[in-house]
């Protein structure tokens, strides 16, 4: 990553730190609304990061934006910022313009739709078209994280060629990125807590049983991050890369949430403690846009039908952590 990219990421992190505070996330959860978080984030100009320069955007690649997607997860950002970034990039070449304040979710068929409670617009897909529609959501925010089970589509703003599969890949990839960002933050929080909390006269982190669990947690977080980094390379999402990333993020989430909360004890699940803001979002992500079983079957089928002598060949040809 270049120095410019690092500066970009640091700037974005700082903004998130100021704008997406835990007090605001709690207020959002009590009464979901875009303001004040959305307008303050939109003001940064980052929404057009992926839009091509010829359309007035910053023209960054998804690989460059990957750290931003992680950062959104690291802050438990309750609004569809990454999704709107992608939607704007997809729409720009087709001359479809969104209102400046549009908060867009990707809405392929899915058991749950993160961020849908506050979305103003959605991308929906039928056989060979992806359509931008105005939406209002039902009120089934079952995780208290701003998600919804269904959306009510309204006026269509435009459409472009694309399939339900394309939309699902994008949604799953961006969700994986935000899940692993949130899990990385949970690891940090858990390491800090293990350093502070004393029992039997020493900090939890000094107990070998705890150390071994935290090592496992770090392994899970890092491998899921590498898998997500591999999938978030281009806005043309590669099915095999996305399958591996969502699968890994979901599988990692099981252990990561269990260990984080085990080390914290009951306090971690209380409203006043931040850990649960992250674990509830990670769990909502597990259910959204294909579970580990869904993507594992896809990935298994891809391996069986691939013209590869060995799985090493399959990994090299389809799952390299480098640009597509």
């Amino acid at each position: 990553m270049s120095d410019d990219d690092n500066i970009l990421t640091e700037t974005f992190r700082r903004v998130l730190g100021d704008v997406v505070t835990s007090e605001r996330i709690r207020a959002f959860e009590d009464s979901p609304a875009l303001a004040p978080i959305w307008p303050e984030l939109a003001e940064t100009g980052f929404l057009d990061a992926l839009v091509g320069e010829e359309y007035g955007g910053a023209g960054l690649s998804l690989a460059q934006v990957f750290p931003l997607v992680l950062a959104l997860g690291e802050h438990a950002t309750p609004v569809p910022f990454a999704e709107t970034m992608l939607a704007r990039a997809w729409l720009a070449p087709h001359g479809i313009s969104l209102p400046d304040d549009a908060a867009v979710v990707l809405a392929p068929r899915s058991a749950i739709l993160p961020f849908a409670e506050v979305a103003t617009h959605a991308l929906v897909a039928d056989r060979d078209m992806i359509r931008v529609v105005e939406v209002t959501s039902g009120s089934n925010d079952v995780f208290r994280a701003g998600g919804a089970l269904t959306l009510n589509p309204g006026r269509e703003l435009g459409a472009f060629a694309g399939t339900p599969g394309d939309l699902l890949l994008a949604a799953a990839a961006l969700t994986s990125g935000q899940m692993v960002g949130a899990m990385a933050r949970m690891l940090d929080m858990t390491l800090n807590y293990a350093g502070e909390r004393q029992q039997f006269g020493r900090s939890l982190g000094k107990f070998q049983a705890i150390q071994q669990q935290l090592a496992v947690m770090a392994e899970q977080v890092i491998s899921a991050q590498v898998a997500a980094r591999t999938a978030l390379r281009s806005t043309h999402f590669e099915p095999i890369r996305v399958a591996a990333a969502k699968c890994r993020a979901n599988e990692a989430a099981r252990l990561v949430c269990n260990i984080a909360h085990a080390v914290h004890g009951a306090i971690g699940a209380t409203a006043e403690f931040d850990l649960q803001l992250f674990s509830r979002r990670v769990k909502q992500g597990q259910v959204a846009f294909g579970s580990e079983r869904y993507w594992a079957v896809e990935l298994g089928r891809a391996r069986v039908t691939a013209d590869c002598q060995t799985t090493a060949d399959f990994l090299r040809l389809h799952l390299m952590d480098e640009d597509v």
């Binding site: 990385a184 390491l191 293990a194 350093g195 982190g205 000094k206 070998q208 705890i210 150390q211 071994q212 935290l214 090592a215 496992v216 770090a218 392994e219 977080v221 890092i222 491998s223 899921a224 991050q225 590498v226 898998a227 980094r229 591999t230 399958a243 591996a244 699968c247 890994r248 599988e251 580990e292 079983r293 993507w295 594992a296 079957v297 896809e298 990935l299 298994g300 089928r301 891809a302 391996r303 069986v304 039908t305 002598q309 060995t310 799985t311 090493a312 060949d313 399959f314 990994l315 090299r316 799952l319 390299m320 952590d321 480098e322």
Partner: protein, 384 residues
């Protein structure tokens, strides 16, 4: 600095290194044509001196050694490509494995010019095979407690003691042993040194240990007043612990930590082409999803090694996860095959499965146990 995803910076395998791949594939296809999968499943536990010498004749043993010492002068990326292909195909690489992976780099780094000139060309030609003398009957994970002792005598060193679990000592020419040269086992890491021990010397006794599988890969090795020449010492006297630790990143970061069960995975995967249920595909997909980031992490660490870094904690994290997948592959496939009461599985698939199922539980032991590795990761996380 704590370990995180940035500890594994993405890197592309250079074209020069990738150029080696088709040549290796062609060589392996020709060499292993008649080797059945259950033999290939042994991969880096499979000892075949002829294969190692044929590989050496291609210039592919000691690939990273400088040309003046008989090597190919290529970098760690080329070695990654070579080793990945060998392991994925299940080539029997054990004969030259230790010399190539550890002894040669150790001697290049710490050896005297005379040691380099004598040993490196012979390793590269596939003439000298090496084993590593680390564990002792009372020193397993607690390696610093080794008791085998070398004492200074006129014109050299006298060694007494015992090593155990020494892989292929009975088929190797030399052992590089970690022994105590001063102090007692209470002094821990201080006072340890590494020696080159010619296993044909008087006073060396090698007793193979037979495993329940019927295989004999391991040995116990006794030293009774074994006289070593002055120049058997590797590196600096008393610096053995630091030297051994420098090898760990090499020993734990490579594709051998994820591919030990790959021959079985691919045999099973091929059998699924015409006959599978959703459960089979799910298991296969989950395994692939775990392998994919690990392979990328191994490549990232190769990049770090090329830059002269020593990603020891990263390698511990990678190896712990890698051996977990290697263990899961036979277990998952056993479950999948055992669920099919309606059919008799292919005998060769079952032979390969049975071989790995009898061994997969020990995959987490070799090269540092799971518990030791997790302790290292915890240290990397700032917990100890």
């Amino acid at each position: 600095m704590t370990i995180n995803v940035d500890s594994f910076p993405p890197v592309r395998i250079p074209e020069e290194a990738e150029a080696l791949r088709p040549q290796v594939k062609a060589f392996i296809a020709q060499q292993l044509m008649h080797m059945p999968p259950h033999r290939r499943a042994r991969t880096w536990a499979g000892f075949d001196a002829d294969f190692s010498r044929a590989l050496a004749a291609q210039g592919w043993v000691g690939l990273t050694m400088p040309k003046e010492y008989g090597g190919a002068g290529l970098d760690a990326f080329s070695r990654f490509v070579l080793v990945e292909e060998l392991l994925a195909a299940g080539a029997p690489v054990a004969a030259h494995w230790i010399g190539d992976r550890q002894s040669a780099p150790l001697l290049l780094h710490y050896g005297t010019e005379a040691q380099r000139e004598f040993f490196l060309p012979r390793i590269c030609r596939g003439e000298l095979f090496f084993c590593i003398g680390m564990s002792e009957p009372n020193s397993g994970s607690d390696l610093a407690s080794v008791r085998t002792r070398a004492e200074k005598v006129d014109g050299g060193w006298k060694v007494n003691g015992q090593k155990i679990w020494t892989t292929y000592a009975h088929k190797s020419h030399y052992m590089i042993a970690l022994v105590r040269t001063s102090g007692t086992s209470e002094d821990r890491q201080a006072g340890l040194s590494q020696f080159l021990i010619d296993l044909s010397l008087p006073g060396v006794t090698v007793n193979p240990i037979k495993l329940g599988t019927g295989d004999t890969d391991f040995n116990e090795v006794f030293f009774e007043d074994v006289i070593l020449p002055e120049d058997a010492l590797v590196g600096t006297e008393g610096n053995g612990w630091a030297q051994v630790n420098a090898e760990l990143a090499f020993e734990r970061s490579g594709p051998e930590r994820i591919y030990s069960s790959l021959v079985l995975l691919d045999l099973w995967s091929r059998s699924l082409k015409d006959d599978h249920d959703a459960g089979d595909l799910e298991r296969l997909g989950l395994l692939v999803s775990r392998l994919a980031p690990l392979r990328n992490m191994s490549i990232a660490m190769t990049g770090l090694l090329v830059q002269g870094k020593s990603p020891v904690t990263e390698a511990a994290l990678f190896k712990d996860m890698g051996t977990e997948v290697e263990q899961a592959i036979p277990a998952d496939i056993a479950d999948a095959l055992g669920a099919r009461l309606d059919r008799t599985p292919d005998p060769e698939l079952m032979r390969t499965l049975a071989y790995l199922m009898q061994l997969n539980h020990v995959f987490s032991l070799r090269g540092g146990t799971r518990e030791i590795l997790r302790g290292m990761i915890a240290r990397g996380l700032g917990l100890r």
